[in-house]
Symmetry: C2
Subunit: 148 residues, 2 copies
Amino acid sequence: MAKHTNLSTVIQRMEDRGYRVTAPRLAVLAAAADCGDQFSAEELDQRLPRVGRATVFRTLKLLVEMDVLCRVLLDDGSLRYRWSRRGHHHHLVCNECGAVQDFTACDVADLVSELTHRTNFTVEGHWLEVYGRCGTCAHAAPALAALP
Amino acid sequence: MAKHTNLSTVIQRMEDRGYRVTAPRLAVLAAAADCGDQFSAEELDQRLPRVGRATVFRTLKLLVEMDVLCRVLLDDGSLRYRWSRRGHHHHLVCNECGAVQDFTACDVADLVSELTHRTNFTVEGHWLEVYGRCGTCAHAAPALAALP
DNA sequence: ATTAATGCAAATTCTTTGCACTAAA
DNA sequence: TTTAGTGCAAAGAATTTGCATTAAT
């Protein structure tokens, strides 16, 4: 599991919420931890031949609900999971190697309040993903596009 | 089609790009126009019993490529299509009724340049969706959550 | 004991592909 | 004519559901 998350904390939280701490759930958690930074449901399922696919999905959903994991949308539309730093954050996704970095310096708040004033929307949340190339990949092949 | 887009412009662009302007494509275009602001592939397909599902999808992909349509990601993860205002813009999506509003006042540029300096990422693009309640729905049921 | 959680396989949903056929150019 | 585009039906992916069974409490 390494640095990503403290499993016992997750287990604690699971108990607190009244969810049973079962063997399959622990297995999913452990496998997710082994996957490192980010992974797909598929990858996880393959690592867990003894756990049913349905359970993998059910557990993932649970963990997302619990804010343990969060979903990352890749630019190609595919979905992956990754350990969530609790609290509001966004992702810097490398289009080349898929590396994901969090960032919290989210200045969208200003934008949001402006939107609230300018429109009749009540803003409840937002999702921001920034795509590009990580340092390594940027060196390998120079970027083509500019800022959006 | 109404205000969304000028179909003849789309057709023009299609020809310019060397794509054939076929009856099924026009049908999809017309149906999309009739759907109004936004729609799913499914909805579109249902309106077009004479056009194969595959063609609907192929045409949608084409139109997205051509920047005629863009994809909207709903908070529940489902995908819809909507007429694209050309150029950079984002979406204000109502969690209740699904209404989508564009907004272009995108101050993410500052954030992006900051990210560029602070990390070793080369930013190539970003995707921002703001969720909340539109005026109508906000009145019906008061919002629960605050800004992110 | 109770009842939440599981595994399996079947069912869904959404989208793509293969291929013989049709129609733009 | 030539070849892009189509329809169909089948194949795929990704995820969910139904239900009898298992295991946590």
